[in-house]
């Protein structure tokens, strides 16, 4: 087994991206993701890659678009305010069917907000990553090890389905150190016959474009894209669950919040409470079916987020009234504690269990 090393989430993700075959990074410094930039600025020149500090997040994401058009694995990273700027490029890449990796190490908004951890960009990532009818793959790591594992998956799926992928982390995951293992997993390669690499007078020209002025053609393009989305929702949902079989109360949480909830759930189990945890690893596609099934056996669902209630709306839709849905959230960079979550679970189950 490869050695366990202690690494910061941001640096682990950066190294994983390199190992996943990314040689083109375009970014702009912003707390709390800057270590990704710093790490790649050290590493890329030594392995023949590109680290380019752009003049803005707008420029950075459009450089990613250019590199992705040319068929290479390209990425950018930022934190919440910077992601707002990137939404332009994200929409264009969706519309141009380009794969890439975007990392959002979330901080608090709106506006400059604060630099503390937050999950308040859930809606932006899963509902409107850019203008137009669109989706991107959204992964929510909960450990530094997942900051290592997910980039491989994200690049691969992004290429297979020809769409951008986002890793939606947060300040806690970016800044914390945990032991990680880098396996010798080699990056999967996908053919890119659509890339604009120069036709060498051997094939018809390739056009990477999101512009379709003919409504019939554009509708067809969007419809085809949504057919792919349906396939993704069918095949690519990732979750982690614990104590779900007999759970009367299912806690749903993602990212750093899920690890906090896991502590609370473990503690509650020792106290005899029938609680379980469902952690969506992919936020889009969202585990609708699994939640619907769980709602058949559980009476209550408690969603915990570092925001004012965003994923809870997807939970409500999935559960469709089959269980009572509750919400507990903190905002502004405040991090819920396991004690807070435990108190919430006791309040919900109070009448039914000691």
């Amino acid at each position: 087994m490869a050695e366990r090393v202690l690494m910061k989430g941001n640096e682990a993700l950066a190294e994983a991206a390199i190992q996943a075959g990314c040689r083109h990074f375009f970014g702009y410094p912003i707390t709390p993701q800057t270590e990704i930039n710093a790490y790649l600025s050290r590493r890329m020149p030594k392995i023949g890659g590109t680290y380019l500090q752009a003049e803005s997040e707008l420029a950075a994401v459009n450089m990613v678009m250019g590199a992705a058009s040319a068929g290479v694995r390209a990425m950018t990273s930022s934190s919440s305010p910077g992601i707002s700027l990137k939404t332009e490029g994200i929409s264009y890449m969706i519309g141009s069917d380009l794969p890439c990796l975007i990392v959002n190490v979330q901080r608090c908004g709106p506006g400059l907000g604060g630099i503390r951890p937050s999950q308040a960009d859930y809606n932006q990532a899963t509902k409107a990553p850019g203008h137009g009818d669109s989706h991107i793959l959204v992964f929510a790591p909960a450990t530094v090890q997942e900051m290592v594992d997910i980039p491989f998956k994200a690049f691969d799926l992004a290429e297979r389905y020809r769409m951008p992928a986002m890793i939606l982390a947060d300040g806690l995951l970016g800044q914390m150190m945990e032991p990680v293992v880098f396996t010798d997993e080699s990056a999967k390669q996908n053919e890119k016959p659509w890339a604009t690499t120069g036709h060498e007078n051997k094939r018809p020209p390739n056009f990477v474009t999101s512009l379709y002025l003919d409504p019939a053609i554009l509708e067809q393009k969007v419809t085809e894209r949504f057919a792919r989305y349906a396939e993704i929702e069918e095949n690519e949902v990732m979750t982690e669950g614990s104590y779900l079989e007999d759970a009367e109360l299912v806690v749903v949480a993602f990212g750093a919040t899920a690890r906090i909830c896991r502590g609370a759930v473990n503690q509650a189990r020792t106290m005899g409470m029938r609680v379980g945890l469902l952690r969506p690893v992919t936020l889009w596609p969202f585990p609708k079916k699994q939640l619907r099934q769980l709602a058949g056996t559980a009476k209550h669902v408690l969603t915990v987020e570092m925001n004012m209630g965003q994923m809870v709306n997807d939970v409500r839709l999935a559960v469709s009234g089959a269980a009572e849905v509750h919400f507990y959230g903190r905002a502004g960079g405040m991090v819920p504690t396991p004690q807070d979550v435990l108190a919430e679970m006791r309040r919900i189950l109070g009448g039914e269990q000691a």
């Binding site: 083109h24 420029a59 678009m65 250019g66 590199a67 332009e88 264009y92 141009s96 690499t197 060498e200």
Partner: protein, 250 residues
């Protein structure tokens, strides 16, 4: 009979959507001829922008990327970094390059990206129907400067070549026009130089082309050419503003 003139093989047979008397058709032809003459068609990537030339992908048999408005030079930077031995160029209008994309323009130039830029300056927004551009001249009437551009409220135009020539990353900046045959010949030479520079690994090369927009200037094509001569060339003098190769440097 011998063929004395034919359409460039890089151009498609699609009828162009450009208005009668528009300069884009001429400039497209100059770019197409240049790529053939330099024998780089197979390894060229055209980064299109947003403006009238957004539909250029219909007209060129080249691999093309359609970039967001103003971001062509960021997109082109990404393409070139991924394919450093290919030929990458942008074709941008004044709104794209000098208004919404000013930051991308200046920084690509400052970084000395090895790109060629064809910058079409017609002093107006063409595609959206004749609004004030960053290059609209003082007093010039447009849809959004109906009383003539007031320097009091709308400030002054940007002279792109003069501005970019101050940056160390720029290898070549020249302003040309497509109003007369001699000027068109000069424009061709400038465009060819911008691409040759890229092949030679010199830095950022930009050719600013003063071009007619009869429709939005509300003038017949011939009068539009006169208007360009009388109004634009005095304000935007033609010439070489920077040429590191000629100066003996790289």
């Amino acid at each position: 009979m011998s063929v004395v003139y034919k359409k460039s093989p890089v151009l498609t047979d699609a009828p162009m959507h450009y208005c009668p008397g528009c300069g884009h058709g001429i400039i497209h032809k100059l770019v197409a001829e240049t790529l053939v003459e330099l024998d780089v068609v197979g390894k060229t990537i055209f980064v299109a922008s947003v403006g009238c030339s957004a539909l250029a992908y219909n007209y060129f048999k080249l691999d093309m990327v359609q970039s967001p408005h103003g971001r062509a030079l960021a997109v082109a930077t990404g393409v070139k970094r991924a394919l450093p031995n290919h030929v990458v160029f942008t074709y941008q209008g004044d709104g794209d390059l000098a208004a919404i994309g000013t930051a991308e323009t200046i920084h690509a130039a400052a970084r000395g990206e090895k790109l060629s830029v064809v910058f079409v300056n017609n002093a107006i927004y063409g595609m959206t129907g004749g609004q004030m551009a960053p290059t609209t001249m003082p007093g010039q009437v447009t849809q959004t400067s109906p009383y003539g551009r007031s320097t009091e409220t709308a400030g002054y135009p940007v002279r792109v070549c003069e501005m970019l020539a101050t940056l160390d990353g720029v290898a070549y900046a020249e302003r040309v026009a497509v109003d007369t045959v001699p000027h068109i010949r000069k424009a061709k030479a400038a465009i060819k130089k911008a691409f040759s520079n890229q092949l030679a690994g010199r830095g950022f090369s930009i050719v600013e082309v003063l071009s007619q927009c009869p429709t939005n200037w509300a003038l017949p094509p011939l009068q539009a050419i006169e208007w360009l001569k009388e109004n634009m060339i005095p304000y935007y003098p033609l010439g070489v503003f920077k040429d590191t190769a000629a100066e003996g440097g790289e």
